[in-house]
């Protein structure tokens, strides 16, 4: 065990910090508005030009070959610096690992650089009206016709789906197969003829997600990721990433925990009383952010040693999503009756977003089932 950062990591942290400070565009519009989406795309381009959009990727695809420790350090600095969020997160965190694992050389060469630069922003098209937690109940059909699939059906809750350039979908290519069989992972361009998308107003009113309607929508067979019929296995590889450390690195929550303690110190500086119970809750949330950090460093050591994240990813997903809620809910309690005021109150936006954490990427109820059955070995039925 060695918990000191080697000098090269210390230098790396300094490099991250300096670059982010020098290139911080300041506040830009919400990524879930048409204008804000494009502003965030520009930020992706700035990151890409600086070599910081996908630091963990190989240099050939726009990355800088960072190891996991460097990536975690980068994320810590990223969120601490207060730069805008990542409109590319769904693609970079969830799809890219799948393309690296299952994509053909042509697919990798075509899609990865465009994802890295922000030219392609991706949305996830998995959930359907009748297939949420029960994802294997997917009904959207994709029937082979020559060198195309013909898609009919509906997807919903596609985050970034209102403005994205591409959608990564799971579709049923064998209508006679049931459940996990007969599914295929398919990459669908947002301008595919026969696809219509309708934005859905999120809890905050922004079109943060969309529903997609396929009406004889034709998609090239070249856009299958992995083998036809292997969609479930291909998708689950990404689901591990989604629940695991790729989507939500500790840096995000450590930064929020720092802001929470700043809020307490600001109140104390203004001679406003901070209730001892609230102070205790703030401390508890700060400690949990550290717990998530160190658990992740242990996980990273295992991964660098060749291990893979399996069902254990569910432990982290429950923990970070509930931590995020705790951080923001505690801040709002600190603000008291000012908590409802929108102006100048980032905690409110953060709270509304944090409320989605226990729902997306597999509800926390499903995650707890997975932990009980696959980590603890309790009987399924």
């Amino acid at each position: 065990m060695d918990l000191e950062l080697a000098p090269r990591y210390v230098d790396f942290r300094e490099e991250c910090r300096n670059w982010l400070e020098a290139n911080n565009p300041g506040r830009i519009a919400s990524m879930d508005t048409a204008a804000g989406f494009e502003e965030h795309r520009e930020w992706e381009r700035v990151l890409f030009d600086g070599g910081w959009s996908v630091p963990g990727w190989p240099k050939a695809y726009g990355g800088r070959d960072c190891d996991l420790i460097e990536w975690l350090i980068y994320e810590e600095e990223y969120w601490l610096s207060g730069v805008p969020g990542r409109v590319s997160a769904n693609g970079v965190s969830l799809l890219a690992p799948t393309i690296f694992n299952f994509g053909t050389q042509e697919q990798q060469d075509h899609f990865l650089p465009k994802m890295a630069s922000g030219e392609h922003i991706w949305a996830q098209g998995w959930s359907e009206p009748e297939a949420g937690s029960d994802l294997a109940g997917i009904k959207t059909k994709a029937i082979r016709d020559g060198d195309h699939y013909v898609l009919n059906g509906q997807k919903t809750w596609c985050s970034r789906g209102a403005f994205a350039d591409w959608i990564f979908c799971i579709v049923r290519t064998d209508p006679d197969a049931e459940r996990h069989a007969g599914l295929t992972y398919l990459l669908v361009p947002a301008d595919a003829p026969g696809m219509e998308r309708r934005p859905i107003g999120r809890l905050d009113g922004e079109p943060g997600f969309a529903e997609l309607f396929f009406d004889d929508c034709r998609v090239s067979v070249d856009n299958v990721l992995g083998e036809e019929g292997q969609g479930w296995a291909v998708a689950m590889a990404a689901a591990g990433s989604e629940r695991g450390l790729n989507l939500r690195s500790p840096g995000r929550f450590m930064a929020a925990a720092e802001r929470l303690t700043d809020l307490v110190r600001d109140m104390q500086a203004q001679d406003r009383t901070v209730d001892v119970r609230l102070r205790d809750e703030v401390t508890d949330a700060w400690i949990k952010a550290q717990a998530y950090r160190w658990q992740t460093y242990m996980l990273a050591a295992n991964l660098m040693d060749g291990a893979e994240i399996g069902s254990e990813a569910s432990l982290g997903k429950v923990f970070w999503s509930e931590l995020d809620l705790e951080l923001h809910a505690t801040a709002l309690r600190l603000l008291g009756d000012r908590g409802e005021l929108v102006e100048g109150n980032d905690w409110l936006d953060g709270y509304v977003f944090a409320l989605s954490g226990p729902i997306y990427a597999g509800t926390n109820e499903i995650q707890r089932n997975i932990i009980a059955e696959r980590v603890l070995g309790l009987p399924r039925r």
Binding site: E4, T261, Q290, Q295, L378
Partner: protein, 332 residues
């Protein structure tokens, strides 16, 4: 940055785990509730032989020259097995204090010839195994002293966990100072060692409950197949998953004073103890609930770990007290 244990550390841990399973099964823990001295026959000598008592003593003094990172995993196993001996007090606090002071009593302490407990300011006023040990490392006016059994009186006090033979202690003689030994460090070591045991107790409670709910049938199905039960136990698993790294992290801080000053060390230890206390509290609550009435009986072994869990969650500072210390470190 390499947050992983070595193969040697794993092997050492496994060897001690096997010893505990062999010499300190639940029957031995239960026997320690009402035998004369609260001890487990043969265990202390075996631990001495294996070097467990000497982990924190330097090699030049005949010790293993290992550090807290090695020791917390042993203490985790002691918690898992429900070891009632003052192993944490002896190996994690007394031995390094004697070593730090260059005491002539170190040799007997690491060889198994003398058995120590500790009396510290954060210890709640009651000393584990005070009546049966040979000596105490005691905190006296902020300084550590070495007190032989002949130099203190004991008044037994009862713990909810009756395998924890507690006593109030009054020093009667003129104790030998342990100059060079650091009382604040001793208190941090005790909190860290207790946190490690909490993790182990929580894991034992979880294992016992997973086994039980897989075997107990109601409505024609194992009760462990019901979602309400699953979610209780998933929560216990999550709490332990995120408490353990803080314990290991704190062990690293304690064992690396050159890069971790007293403030950082105290903050890290308190993060570990606060989180581990909460984790074992949750484990106790969920384990009892998922066992139903059988867990509420005196005859069933679950109570041995429930009561250990309650005791250790509070011992050397409960979660709230340690969060207060973290809050002070955060200047909030």
């Amino acid at each position: 940055m390499q947050f992983a244990f070595t193969e040697e550390q794993d092997m050492f841990r496994d060897t001690v785990r096997d010893l505990f399973a062999d010499v300190c099964p639940p029957e031995a823990v239960r026997a320690s509730w009402d035998n004369d001295d609260g001890r487990v026959p043969g265990l202390w000598d075996a631990l001495a032989e294996m070097g467990v008592l000497a982990v924190l003593a330097p090699e030049e003094a005949g010790g293993l020259g290992m550090n807290e990172v090695d020791l917390v995993r042993i203490l985790e196993e002691a918690g898992y097995a429900g070891v009632p001996e003052p192993l944490m007090e002896h190996a994690a606090v007394a031995v390094p204090a004697l070593a730090q002071a260059g005491s002539a009593h170190l040799e007997a302490a690491i060889g198994g010839g003398s058995r120590y407990s500790v009396s510290l300011s954060t210890g709640g006023g009651a000393v584990l195994a005070a009546g049966s040990v040979d000596a105490l490392v005691a905190e006296d006016d902020g300084l550590l002293v070495d007190v032989g059994r002949e130099s203190y009186d004991v008044v037994p006090v009862e713990s909810i966990d009756q395998s924890r033979r507690l006593a109030r202690v009054e020093l009667t003689g003129d104790p030998a100072g342990l100059s060079g030994a650091d009382a604040a460090l001793a208190n941090d070591r005790a909190a860290l060692g207790t946190a490690a045991q909490c993790i182990g107790v929580a894991r034992r409670l979880l294992d016992a409950t997973v086994e039980y709910v897989g075997e107990r049938y109601q409505f024609g199905k194992p009760v462990g197949s019901y979602q309400a039960v699953k979610h209780h136990l998933a929560n216990v698993r999550i709490a332990n998953e995120f408490a353990a790294p803080l314990v290991y992290r704190a062990a690293w801080s304690v064992s690396h004073p050159e890069t971790h000053d007293e403030g950082i060390r105290g903050r890290d230890v308190s993060m570990a103890k606060a989180t581990a206390s909460d984790a074992v509290d949750l484990a106790c609550r969920a384990a009892l609930q998922c066992h139903g009435a059988i867990g509420y009986t005196f005859e069933y072994d679950l109570q041995l770990w429930l009561k250990r869990g309650w005791a250790l969650a509070a011992s050397y500072g409960d979660a709230r007290r340690h969060r207060d210390r973290v809050a002070a470190a955060l200047q909030i």
